[in-house]
Symmetry: C2
């Protein structure tokens, strides 16, 4: 790889991780003033803030790795749907409280393993972002795991509903462990995380919490994918971007 | 005042302060993913979180001062429009970025003076809430003040637009300095803040920032009021509550 092409790959890699954070942050923030209590309201807003903060750091690093004069905001507001490389799981609608908790749990269990590994990246900037983000996602995992147990091991209705959420979302978890082009290209220099190897530990985390939550792991192994590796998204991402990018598209540069 | 009636007055007083925070927090959170940049996004969400946190502490204290078994969530989700005693300024729609900044500046300039005084309350719980909130609103004031200067002293268009925001919102500022029944009743024991006396300092803060922002203070002295003292609100509060209270009204108690 030439230096220029390596830099370009680094841009894609940092932006791809940032996309997961930004889109998940958007979904979490949609709970603003619709959560079941003020305490949960604040917990979800704090998760959203953590995720947006991660996206900013990753986009800033992507922008700095580039030779263009793009900024973090260009990555968030001026890219099209197919440029976003978040996993489909992050862009699905929040659904009910159970769906929200299950999705947050699946992604946070992945994020804890991912950022643990990223903290050891040979790229010192990514390693620093990994170490900082790890503290945040560890809290998200604990919060969502405790709720999963409360819902799964709660009333008959809450158990059935949250098991249904698990069944519906399960097919979107496999994509988290597929390797993108950028991930493969940066692997041998020890820059990127080999996410395929995280699967076994993720399965173990999920099994442990599911056991306490009296929930069953679906036996359907078919995995939906396309967002992370090819930028092929569900219809939902388009609505998120339309909402989020409106002002910057309407008033380019936003001069005051 | 009997002990019971004093406790009841304290409930009203703490809830009234909390109402301002909760309703302003709701308005700030509506900027989620509609702000002009990721940085402002996070700044506004942090303001929203501060305000909701203040509301929680004040509602918790209101609930604890009561002899009933109400919780902080009862105050947020189970009271009707006329029970909310926020100033009308807090419930007005966000409008454009200039309207949002002007409103945040007016309220934060008030809040800084208010919480400085509340931190000296003879009620130690209110004094503690005052001291903690003061740090937060001081940041809100700096953030909104800097933006006000940037907009007022910016382009011709931004100047004209933000001057128009000032002109539109000015008539809602007077209500901040009117005294409610609860405020009057708790005054002689040194528990409540004499908000009428804050006006001169508020005028001075506003004048100083307006001078830097090259903005003019409107000479219209007529003040709109009714929210704080009588629970007579604009139509806008009803929409906020419909949005915020839906889940708790639909599923009373939210059992899992």
């Amino acid at each position: 790889m030439t230096e220029a092409s390596k830099n370009q790959t680094l841009v894609h890699y940092a932006a791809q991780i940032g996309d997961n954070s930004l889109i998940m942050g958007h979904r979490m923030s949609e709970w603003c003033f619709h959560a079941p209590s003020l305490e949960m309201e604040m917990a979800l807003m704090n998760c959203a803030l953590d995720l947006i903060g991660q996206a900013r750091e990753l986009y800033s690093y992507a922008a700095a790795s580039d030779n263009s004069d793009r900024t973090e905001d260009d990555f968030a507001y001026l890219r099209d749907e197919q440029d976003f490389r978040n996993a489909l799981l992050a862009e699905l609608p929040n659904g009910d409280w159970g769906d929200t908790i299950v999705r947050l749990f699946f992604i946070s269990a992945y994020n804890r393993l991912f950022y643990t590994a990223l903290a050891k990246s040979k790229d010192s900037e990514l390693a620093a972002i990994g170490a900082k983000s790890l503290k945040e996602v560890t809290y998200h995992l604990r919060f969502s795991g405790e709720w999963l147990i409360r819902l799964g091991d709660g009333t008959e209705e809450s158990h059935q509903r949250v098991q249904q959420s698990v069944n519906n979302l399960w097919m979107f978890t496999g994509e988290l462990f597929t390797m993108s082009e950028a991930e493969n290209a940066l692997l041998k220099d020890g820059i990127s995380v080999d996410v395929a190897t995280l699967r076994a530990d993720w399965d173990q985390t999920v099994s442990q919490v599911f056991e306490q939550a009296t929930l069953s792991i679906p036996d359907n192994d078919w995995a939906q994918s396309g967002g992370k590796t090819r930028g092929h998204h569900t219809e939902h991402l388009g609505y998120i971007l339309a909402d989020m990018q409106f002002m910057q598209r309407r008033y380019p540069g936003c001069e005051w």
